[in-house]
């Protein structure tokens, strides 16, 4: 018990005297996950709009596959990206394995189905009368689609935040493709795993507390967004 309390005290001290190494790890985590999320949003949002507005063969199957991919095991994604980027793989010549770029690729694959699927749900959840009202006011089909997307904005923001939560907490994929190289590909989750193995609980706990704080911040933002989106929703 005293070890845990001592570790906590040491962890808090580490957070208060945030050293360069710790700060570098936190910033890299945010950079990798933030970039992955930006890419996933850039691809996922148009994709969710396509699924929401266009009719095409096997659309139902596409949505089912997308929903299944929401639960992709990170280690499987890590393995898949590893095979693609390894020297003998099809993209080996790009020498991306064990770089932050490889970590971004893996996390993009992980967050893309979440951002796309939840955004799609938000878009198709918009009351059909919005589309009709927009049409009666003289909107072009493109303007109608933009209006529906704007009405779904709180749901879409929730989707993006959910995607961020998923990649920030993920360890399996980035450990495989990033290699947890100190000062280069070491991020919060991989450091926690490593330091726990080494018995260095202070640093692991310090990062755990920071990760939890970020998670709390994300969920508070999500709650606020959802609350804002619910204004007069019963009408």
């Amino acid at each position: 018990m005293s070890t845990i309390l001592e570790s906590f005290a040491e962890a808090l001290s580490l957070i208060l005297h945030l050293n360069k190494e710790l700060l570098g790890i936190i910033l890299l985590s945010l950079k990798v996950s933030g970039t992955a999320l930006a890419v996933a949003t850039l691809i996922g949002l148009p994709l969710s709009a396509l699924l929401g507005f266009k009719k095409f063969p096997l659309k139902g199957l596409s949505v089912s596959i997308l929903n299944t991919f929401m639960g992709l095991p990170p280690v499987v994604v890590g393995l898949f990206v590893y095979l693609l980027l390894s020297r003998s793989g099809p993209f080996g010549f790009m020498a991306l394995l064990y770089t932050p770029t490889a970590m971004v690729i893996a996390q993009t694959i992980l967050s893309l189905p979440i951002v796309t699927s939840l955004s799609h749900s938000a878009i198709i959840g918009v009351d059909p009368i919005i589309k009709q009202a927009s049409m009666t006011l003289g909107a072009t089909p493109f303007q109608v689609s933009l209006t529906v997307i704007r009405e779904a904005r709180y749901g879409i923001m929730s989707a993006i935040i959910a995607g961020f939560g998923r990649v920030m907490a993920e360890v399996g994929a980035i450990l495989i493709v990033g290699g947890n190289i100190a000062g280069f590909t070491r991020v919060m989750t991989t450091t926690i795993a490593l330091e726990t193995d080494k018995g260095n609980f202070e640093l692991a706990l310090a990062l755990g507390i920071i990760l939890l704080s970020i998670s709390l911040g994300i969920n508070s933002a999500l709650h606020l967004i959802q609350k804002k989106g619910m204004v007069g929703a019963s009408r």
Binding site: D127, Q132, A133, S134, G138, T147, R235
Partner: protein
């Protein structure tokens, strides 16, 4: 150049029910046309067909200007508008809801702002400008729907059951708005209602759907 509306040999059925049978009618004069009839007789369907958001099974809807048929395109759709019974407010302020029709037409800035404020004043909603439209009462929502349509200065305006779920006070306000529209916004206004007394108060032309056709009464 006034826009006229003509429906020719409209047929429409829903779930095997023939709602319209060879229905032809011409709305050539300015004024308020009130369309009445029992529930389910096709009043809303007729408005949606005329407003070009639903197509008939057979027959056609034509808009005429100086005796010539106007091509059914975006340009025409922007000269007419329909206020739906549930309105369909956007999750934003009252002001932005009313500004929508102008924004999609590329009208912004001071001109847009003045037109929105005028429309809001016309329906006595100026003081609600900054409020989220989804927090309005049913009556206020209807008035917002009318302002949102009027701001685009439609030449043909359709109002589908504008007072169906509205309290007495707001019904009175909406009726006053419609009566004022006759003077301030001369155009063709086609309104559906199942309230006979209201129909008589507002109508320049009283119409009835009978056996799948529209008849003047």
């Amino acid at each position: 150049m006034m826009l006229g509306l003509k429906t020719s040999n409209i047929w429409k059925s829903y779930n095997g029910n023939q709602i319209f049978r060879d229905c032809s009618f011409s709305f050539a004069e300015q004024g308020v046309y009130i369309l009445t009839g029992p529930n389910g007789c096709g009043k809303s369907t007729f408005l949606r067909i005329c407003a070009l958001i639903e197509t008939p099974d057979r027959g056609e809807v034509s808009y005429l200007s100086n005796g010539n048929v106007v091509q059914t395109d975006l340009g025409l759709r922007r000269r007419i508008t329909l206020v739906l019974p549930k309105v369909g407010v956007f999750n934003t302020t009252v002001f932005k809801n009313v500004a929508y029709g102008l924004r999609i037409r590329g009208i912004k800035g001071k001109e847009g702002e003045e037109r929105v404020n005028r429309a809001l004043e016309f329906v006595d909603m100026g003081h609600k400008s900054a409020q989220n439209a989804r927090t309005l009462s049913s009556g206020e929502t209807q008035r917002l729907g009318i302002a949102r349509a009027l701001v685009t200065e439609p030449e043909v305006l359709f109002l589908d059951e504008p007072t169906a779920s509205v309290d007495q006070k707001n019904t009175q306000i909406i009726e006053d708005i419609i009566l004022q529209m006759k003077d301030k916004h001369p155009s063709i206004v086609i309104i559906t209602t199942h309230d006979k007394a209201q129909a008589e108060r507002l109508a320049d032309y009283l119409l009835l759907i009978r056996e799948g056709k529209i008849v003047s009464i």
